[in-house]
Amino acid sequence: MKKKTIISLLAGAALCFTMPSCMDLDETVYDKLPSDQFAQTEVEINALVGNAHNTLRRYWPNNFFYLSENIGSMAVTPSRRGGDWYDGGQYQLLYTHNFNSQISVIKGSWNAATESIGTCSATIYTLENSTVLTEEQKVSKIADVRGIRAFWIYVMMDYWGNIPLLTEYDPVDKVLPSCTPRQEVFNWLVQELNEIKDQCPAPTAENYACFTQGAAYTLLAKLYLNADAWGVTTGENNYQKVVEYCDKVMTMGYILEPVWKDNFSQTNNNSREAIFACAFSASDTENSNGLHFNTLHYKDNLAIGATFTANNGVCAQPDYVKLFPEDDPRREGSFLLGQQYNINTGEELVTDHGRLLNHTVDVTVIPTTEYPGTNWGQVEQEDGGRCWKWPYASDLTSAMENDFHVFRLADVYLMKAEALLRGGGSAAEATTLVNAIRERAYGNGDHNYTTVGLDEVQLERRLELAWEVTSRQDDIRFGCYETGMWSSVNCPRETGEYLKLLPISQDAWQVNPNLTQNPGYPPFSN
C-alpha cells in the first residue's frame, strides 16, 4: 500500500513534468515587436528609414556643434564666474587644442556617430532582406539610408581621419574592426556616393529630411573641396570636381530663400534652400532640439517671454562677432547682444550676481580667477553673444520646432566660389556667387563686391554660416586653424599638424583594443 502510494505520487509528478506547458519557458512579448515580426509592411519599413534620418538629431545642437565651433573660431564655452561650465576643463582643452582621449565631448561625439552608423547598417540589412518593397522602392530607400550613413562616416573621417570602417551588419557574428586609413575611407566614400547619387530620393520638397540626390552631390563636393586639406589624393582635379558637383546641385531646383531668416524659423521645413535637413519637432521628446538650453542665460527666457530656464553655456568668440559689420542684418540675426529686458514688464534683467544682464561682445576673464598654469579664467555670467539664429518661440519649453539644415544652397554657392578661386576658375563667377549671398542678406546690392578673393569667401562663410558646424573644417582649409577668435583671453592654441585630427575616444578603445590612436597622441593605455 505504502509503496504504491509513493509510486502514484511520483507517477503524477513525472507526468506533470513531462507535460510541455508545465515546463514551458517561451517568452510572450507584449509591448515590443520581435525582429522577425517587424518590417512586414511599407509603413513599418518607412518607420525604420525615418529613424535613420533621426540619427542626425545627435549631430546638432550637441556633440559636433560643440566640437566644430569650440575647436574652430566661431564659439567658445567659457568658464563662468564661480566655475560654471568649467566641467573639468574640457572646453578650455577644446578651445586651446589640448586634446586628449578622455574629453567627454569627444567621447560623446564618437559614440553618437558610431551608434548612428550602426543604426543605419542595421536598417540597410533589414531593407535588403525585405520582401514587401518593389525593387525600385528598395533601391531608393536603401540609397537614402546609405547616404545618411555616408554622411556620418564623412563626419568621422573629417574629425578623426582614421576610423573603423565597418559597414556590414550581422546580428550574430560580431567582429572588432581596426582603423582604416583616412585615404581609404575617402576612397570608400567617393565610391559609395557615386553608387547612390542617382538612386537617392529626388531633390523635391516632399523628400525634405531624406538623403536626396542633392545631398549626395553636395557631400561629394565637400569631399573634393577638403581633399587637399585632409591630405588625401584623388587622381582628379579636385576643384573642377567641386564645381561640377555644385553646378549639378544648383540645377536641381533649390533657391536662395529671399528672406534669409526663413532658413532658421520654426517653419524652416518650407525652405527651398535646404538640401539636407535634420528635422526636429517641438512635440517629440526623442533627441529634441535644445539649443536654447545650451546657449541662453538663466534669465534670457524672460526677454523672450518663455518659461524655460537655460544653462548659460556657449557664446560667440568675440573677434568672430566683430567681423560682422554693424549694418549686416546677419549680426543681429545670429547673435543675442546687449542689455536684456523682461518682455512683459520692460524691466532691466539682473543676474544672480547682481549685475545687469547685458550680453557684451567681449568675453573678459575676471582677474585672479585664472586656473593654475593658464590664462584661462572665469568670465561674468552675462558675457558673450548668444546664439540667436534660430528664433525661439515665446511658448518654447523643452524642445524647439526649428529644423537644422546640414547642407543648404548658400553653402554650395560659397563652396563653388571657393573652388573656382582655388582651382583657377572664373573670379567673376565667384564674385557673382558671393554677391548673391550678400544681396540676399542685406536685401540690396549696396554691399556687393566688385571682385572677390579667398579672403572674401572665407569672411562670407563666417558671416553666413555662424553656428552651422562649418567653422573647424573651414579654419583648417583656410589655414587659420591655430588662430582662435578670442584674442583677449591670451590662451594660445597648441600647434602641430597632428592636432587636425582628434584623438580617438578612450571609451572606444576600451571596448575595441584593435583601434590605434592617431599619430601625435599618447598610445592607448589603461
Binding site: S8, L25, Y30, N46, K299, D395
Partner: protein
C-alpha cells in the same frame, strides 16, 4: 494546472487511486485514539512555570500552563502525538506521548533556545539540527518604536545583514544587503519569503503581525531557492491563532519625530559679513532684509501613530487570526506622509483525523503617500538667507524662481506633490494531506496584485513647474503574480534509540509575473488649481508623454532536499534546485543550483561528557550555488523593435521605430557560490551563547550592461554575463546573560561582521572592460566628474579621485600631479582614495528586566568606511557666495579656488549610533479576569551618533534613485546634495491583550 495533471494520473490507474483512498479510511479507523493529557511544567529550581506553551507538534492545538504550572490538553491521537513545550528564556522540549496521559516537564534556562523551531526554506528545523547558516530573530528581540516593516525590526540585529535607512523620507524603503555586494546588476538584496511564499514584499506585512524572521545567510541554506537567492533569503513568519484560547490584542503607539540634523548654513548677517570680508558686491540684495533659515522652513515635527488590532482563536481542529493595522506616518519634512491600512486574515482547518489541513490567507495593504521632491533641498542650500519665504502681502516670494538652482522651496512643498495610492492584495491557499505517517503532500496556490496609482504635479506658479508652465503626470502600474507550488515531505525517526532521523522534501513550482503600466503627462497649464486631477487642462501633449507597456516572465522550478541526522551528533543536508527562467537566451534558460552542508554536534560526543561547562557545541560547514536574475528585465535576450518618437515625412510626423537594444541570445544565469564554516556554542550553564562564521562567496558570470564596440553593435552597451566578484568575511555573534536571577536580568548581545569585497574579473574573450567610471556627485561647474571606479582588484565603492594634500596660503587646493603633466588635479591624476565599504559593522543590544519593568538599549555602527561629503564640496565654498548661500565651515573664507571631487571631501564615516532605547512596564493583571496583559512603554530612536564625519549623517544610502536604475549601488558612500534629513523619534506605546 498541476492538480489537473494529478487527476489525469489517477485516472490512469483507478485501482491505485481507490486503494489509496481506502488506506486513508483504514488508517483513520485504526489509529484514532482521542485522549486528554495532563501534567505540570517546572523550572530548573522545581518552581512551577506559569504560562508555558504546550502545543501538539505540527498543529495549532495547544494550551498554556496555569498559575500552578499545570496543563490539560485534549489530543486526537495519544499514540502518535508529539508535544512541544516552550517558554521564553528556556530551551524548548519535544516529547512523544506514546499513549501516556500524564507527562510533566522540567525546563532548562538558556540564553538561546536550542529547541526552538526555526523557519528554513520550505520547512522548519530546530536550532540544534540546522546545518547551514540561519539567523533567527523572534518578536522579543525586534527593534522597538516606530517601525514600518520587517527591515526596521531587524536593523542591526543580524551579523552580516546591512540594512541602511539613508534618509528620513517615510515613503522610502530600506536598502538591504547580506554579506556584501554580490552583483553589478541592480543588487536587490535578499529575497523575501512570507509564510512560505517566495518573492514577497515586506510592506505587505505589518510589523505587529510578525512572529519571527529567519535570515538564510549562506548558500547551503539558501540554495533551495535557487536562482533568486544569491542576495540571501529573509523568511518572515506571521503570527497564527492558537487552538487553545481566543485572544484580542491591541498594540498602539504615538510617535513624535524631528530632524536629527540639518545643514549649518550662514544666516543673513553672517552671509553679509562673509561677502564683505571677501570683497564681494551684494548690492543687488540691498532690498532684501529677511533672515530665513530655508531648511528650518521646510522641516516640521512629524507626529505618527499606529493602531493594530488582532483577533485570534480556534478549536483543536481549526484556528484563525485576523488583524487590522492602521499606520499614519508624517515625516520631518512638511509634505511627506505615509498612511497604511493593513488587513490580514488566516484560517486553518483540519479534517480526516487531522490528516487533511486546508489553510486560507488573505491580505490587503492600502497605502497612501506623498513623496517630496528631494531636489527642493538643493534650493534650500542655494537660496540667500536675505530672501523671505513670503512677501509682505502674504504671497510667496518668487523673486529667485528663475535663478539657477534657486526658487522658493516652501512654495514648491505647498504646491507640488508626488502622491501614490498603492493597493497590494494577495490570497494564498494550501491543501496539505498526510498520506501515511511521515509523508505529507501539499499544494499551494497564490495570487497577488499590486497596483499603484501615481499623481505628480508641478505647479506653473513655482520654480519647479514654471519651466513647463505646469506639469502633471498620472501613472498606473500593475504587477500580477501567480504561483503554484507542489511539495511532498517525508520524515521519519527510526532505530532502536531513535538515533536516525531523516527529513526530505521534493517540490515543483511554477510562477509567472506580469507587469503593465500606462502613463500620461501634460504640460502648459493655464489654470493650475486642479493639479493632476484634471490633466486635460494641460495644453501641450508631446509624443512619448502618453505611454503604456506590458511584460511578462515565467519561472519554473524543481527542487529537493534531504536531511539526515544521527543522534543529533552527525547531520547532513543536501539540496538541489533546477530553475528555468524565460528571461534568458534560448540555450541557457535552465540552471542547476546544488548545495550540501554538514554539522557535527561535538557536545553530543561521549568524550565531551566531562566538560560540564559546555552545554552545546556544533561545527558546521556548507557549500552551495545560488543564482541571480531579479535585476534583469524581461526580453533582454531578444532583438526587438519599438516606437521611437516621430520622423518628418512630407509635412507629416509619423511614428518612427528602432531596435531597442543589442540582443544577447547567450544571456544566462549569474551564479554565486559560497563556502561557509561556522561554530555554534553554548557554554557556562547556558549563560553564554555564540556563533563564529567564516565565508567565501564568489559570483561569476555577472550580469551587467557591459560596454561594447560601435560599430559592430548598434548601441554601446549590452546586457551580458562577464565579470566575477568575491566576498570573504567573518561574523561573530555573542549572547550573554550577565545577570540572571528572579529579581533582575541583564542580557547583552553583540554582533560583529567583517566583509571584504573585490571585483576579480570584468573581461572575457568577447567583452573587454578596463575601468568603469561611476558615481555622479555633481558640483556646479563640474559636470561629468565621476567619483568611483569599478576595476579588477578593487572593491565596489572604490573612490577614484585626485588626491588633495591641503590648501595653500593663497587658498588654492594642492593636488598631487600623478601623471606629471604639469596640471595637478586633472583627469590623469585620479587615484584610489579609500572605499565606501566598512571594515566592520556591529550591533550591541542590552535588555534588562526588573520586576515588572523591562528596558533595552541598542547601539550599532560601522568602522572603516568612507563617505564623500558632497554637500560640503558643493556648498562649502565661497565660489557663488555673492548670489547664493553657503555652508559654514573653516575653509569658507580662506578658499580661493573651485571645489572639485577630491580626497579632500572624502571623510572617515565610522560611527556609533544609539539606535534604539526603550523602557516598559507591565501591569499586574492577575486580578482582572478580562485583561490578560497590559504594558506601556516609551522608546527613543536615533538618539545620537558618535562620528568624525562632518556631514549630516555618516550612514548614507547605497543608491539614490530606484534599485532598478542603471548602476544603482555601484557608487555607494556619497552624501548627496539633495539629502533628505534623518529623523529622531520618541514613542509612547501600549500593548493590551484581552
Amino acid at each position: 494546472m498541476r492538480q489537473k495533471k494529478m487527476f489525469t494520473s489517477f485516472k490512469h490507474s483507478r485501482l491505485l487511486a481507490t486503494s489509496v483512498l481506502m488506506s486513508f479510511c483504514m488508517t483513520g479507523a485504526v489509529f484514532a485514539q482521542r485522549a486528554t493529557i495532563k501534567g505540570s511544567v517546572v523550572d530548573e529550581n522545581g518552581e512551577p512555570v506559569i504560562g508555558a506553551n504546550i502545543l501538539v507538534k505540527g498543529t495549532t492545538n495547544g494550551t498554556i500552563t496555569d498559575i500552578n504550572g499545570n496543563y490539560s490538553l485534549e489530543v486526537e491521537n495519544a499514540k502518535s502525538t508529539v508535544l512541544q513545550i516552550s517558554y521564553i528564556g528556556y530551551n524548548s522540549v519535544e516529547e512523544a506521548v506514546k499513549g501516556r496521559n500524564d507527562i510533566s516537564f522540567k525546563l532548562e534556562p538558556s540564553v538561546v533556545n536550542l529547541g526552538e523551531v526555526v523557519a528554513i526554506g520550505y520547512g522548519t528545523q530546530t536550532r540544534r539540527e540546522i546545518t547551514g547558516s540561519v539567523a533567527n530573530v523572534a518578536e522579543e528581540n525586534f527593534n522597538k518604536g516606530v517601525t514600518r516593516d520587517a527591515s526596521d525590526l531587524l536593523q542591526g540585529k543580524v551579523a552580516g545583514l546591512t540594512i541602511t535607512t539613508g534618509s528620513g523620507d517615510v515613503t522610502r524603503g530600506s536598502q538591504i544587503q547580506l554579506r556584501g555586494t554580490s552583483t553589478l546588476q541592480n543588487d536587490q538584496g535578499p529575497m523575501i519569503v512570507i509564510d512560505g511564499i517566495p518573492g514577497g514584499d515586506m510592506s505587505t506585512v505589518s510589523p505587529s503581525d510578525i512572529e519571527s524572521i529567519s535570515v538564510l545567510k549562506d548558500a547551503s541554506s539558501a540554495a533551495i531557492y535557487g536562482s533568486r537567492a544569491a542576495g540571501g533569503v529573509i523568511l518572515i513568519t506571521t503570527k497564527r491563532g492558537s487552538g487553545s484560547k481566543t485572544t484580542i490584542n491591541y498594540d498602539g503607539y504615538v510617535t513624535a519625530s524631528t530632524a536629527a540634523n540639518k545643514p549649518d548654513m550662514l544666516n543673513a548677517q553672517e552671509w553679509r559679513e562673509v561677502n564683505a570680508l571677501l570683497g564681494k558686491d551684494i548690492s543687488a540684495f540691498d532690498g532684501y532684509n529677511a533672515d530665513t533659515d530655508w531648511f528650518g522652513e521646510m522641516l516640521q515635527t512629524g507626529i505618527s501613530q499606529q493602531h493594530a488590532l488582532s483577533l485570534s482563536g480556534g478549536t483543536s481542529k481549526s484556528n484563525y487570526r485576523a488583524s487590522y493595522t492602521y499606520m499614519d506616518r508624517n515625516g520631518v519634512v512638511r509634505n511627506n506622509y505615509l498612511t497604511r491600512h493593513s488587513f490580514r486574515f488566516q484560517f486553518q482547518q483540519r479534517a480526516i483525523n487531522d490528516r487533511l489541513r486546508i489553510s486560507l490567507t488573505g491580505s490587503a495593504t492600502l497605502t497612501d503617500s506623498d513623496r517630496p521632491f528631494n531636489d527642493d533641498f538643493i534650493l534650500a542650500y542655494n537660496m540667500p538667507p536675505v530672501y523671505p519665504v513670503y512677501n509682505e502681502d502674504g504671497s510667496y516670494f518668487k523673486g529667485a524662481n528663475t535663478a539657477y538652482d534657486q526658487g522658493n522651496p516652501v512654495q514648491n512643498q505647498d504646491q507640488n506633490y508626488r502622491r501614490s495610492r498603492n493597493n497590494y492584495f494577495y490570497g494564498a491557499g494550501d491543501v496539505q494531506f498526510q498520506i501515511i505517517d511521515g509523508l505529507t503532500t501539499k499544494v499551494q496556490l497564490y495570487k497577488s496584485r499590486f497596483a499603484s496609482d501615481y499623481s505628480e504635479w508641478q505647479d506653473p506658479d513655482n520654480s519647479r513647474g514654471d519651466n513647463n508652465n505646469g506639469l502633471a503626470i498620472r501613472r498606473n502600474r500593475t504587477w500580477d503574480r501567480n504561483l503554484l507550488e507542489w511539495t511532498a515531505n517525508y520524515n521519519k525517526v527510526f532505530g532502536s534509540e531513535e538515533q536516525h532521523k531523516i527529513d526530505a522534501i521534493i517540490g515543483y513550482s511554477w510562477e509567472n509575473n506580469e507587469y503593465a503600466d500606462q502613463s500620461a503627462q501634460a504640460t502648459n497649464f493655464a489654470v493650475g488649481t486642479m493639479g493632476a486631477d484634471n490633466i486635460q487642462t494641460g495644453n501641450t501633449l508631446k509624443i512619448g508623454e502618453v505611454t503604456s507597456s506590458r511584460n511578462e516572465y515565467k519561472l519554473i522550478s524543481l527542487f529537493a532536499r534531504a536531511h539526515y541526522s544521527y543522534k543529533e551528533k552527525y547531520m547532513i543536508t543536501a539540496t538541489v534546485r533546477r530553475d528555468g527562467s524565460s528571461k534568458f537566451g534560448a540555450n541557457h534558460k535552465w540552471g542547476i543550483f546544488p548545495s550540501v552542508s554538514a554539522a557535527w554536534g561535538i557536545s553530543q560526543e561521549d568524550f565531551m561528557e566531562s566538560a560540564e561547562w559546555v552545554n552545546d557545541l556544533k561545527l558546521r560547514a556548507g557549500y552551495g550555488v545560488t543564482g541571480n536574475q531579479d535585476g534583469l528585465q524581461p526580453y533582454k535576450s531578444m532583438e526587438l523593435y519599438s516606437s521611437a518618437g516621430t520622423y518628418y515625412s512630407n509635412g507629416a510626423l509619423p511614428t518612427a521605430f528602432r531596435l531597442t537594444q543589442n540582443a544577447n541570445p547567450d544571456l544566462k544565469w549569474e551564479q554565486t557560490s559560497m563556502l561557509n564554516i561556522g561554530l555554534d556554542f553554548t557554554l557556562f550553564n547556558s549563560r553564554l551563547n555564540g556563533t563564529i562564521e567564516w565565508y567565501d562567496k564568489r559570483t561569476s558570470d555577472m550580469l551587467y550592461r557591459y560596454r561594447v564596440s560601435t560599430p559592430t553593435y548598434v548601441y554601446n552597451t549590452i546586457m551580458a554575463n562577464v565579470g566575477d566578484m568575491k566576498n570573504t568575511g567573518i561574523e561573530i555573534l555573542l549572547n550573554l546573560d550577565v545577570i540572571r536571577n528572579k529579581k533582575f536580568t541583564w542580557n547583552t548581545s553583540i554582533n560583529l561582521a567583517h566583509n571584504k569585497n573585490e571585483i576579480t574579473k570584468l573581461s572575457n574573450e568577447l567583452y573587454s572592460t578596463g575601468k568603469i567610471y561611476v558615481g555622479d556627485p555633481w558640483i556646479r561647474g563640474q559636470s561629468n566628474q565621476t567619483s568611483h571606479v569599478l576595476e579588477v582588484g578593487r572593491p565596489i565603492g572604490q573612490f577614484y579621485v585626485p588626491r588633495c594634500l591641503g590648501i595653500d596660503a593663497e587658498g588654492k587646493f594642492i593636488y598631487e600631479d600623478l601623471d606629471g603633466d604639469g596640471v595637478a588635479g586633472a583627469e590623469g591624476d585620479r587615484t584610489y582614495c579609500g572605499d565606501a565599504q566598512p571594515d566592520l559593522t556591529y550591533g550591541w543590544n542590552n535588555t534588562f528586566t526588573w520586576g515588572n519593568w523591562d528596558a533595552s538599549i541598542f547601539f550599532r555602527g560601522t568602522i572603516g568606511n568612507k563617505v564623500l561629503n558632497n554637500p560640503l564640496a558643493a556648498y562649502g565654498n565661497n565660489t557663488y557666495i555673492n548670489g547664493a548661500n553657503a555652508m559654514k565651515n573653516d575653509d569658507l573664507t580662506r578658499l580661493n579656488d573651485i571645489s572639485k571631487v577630491s580626497s579632500y571631501y572624502i571623510e572617515n564615516a565610522s560611527f556609533m549610533r544609539l539606535d534604539n532605547m526603550s523602557i516598559g512596564y507591565t501591569f499586574n493583571t492577575k486580578k482582572i479576569d478580562w485583561l490578560e496583559k497590559a504594558r506601556v512603554y516609551v522608546a527613543a530612536q536615533n538618539l545620537f551618533v558618535i562620528t568624525g564625519y562632518k556631514g549630516l549623517d555618516p550612514e548614507v544610502e547605497n543608491f539614490r534613485g530606484e534599485a532598478s536604475d542603471d548602476d544603482a549601488g555601484l557608487s555607494p558612500g556619497i552624501e548627496p546634495r539633495n539629502y533628505f534629513p534623518k529623523s529622531r523619534s520618541f514613542t509612547f506605546g501600549v500593548n493590551l491583550t484581552f
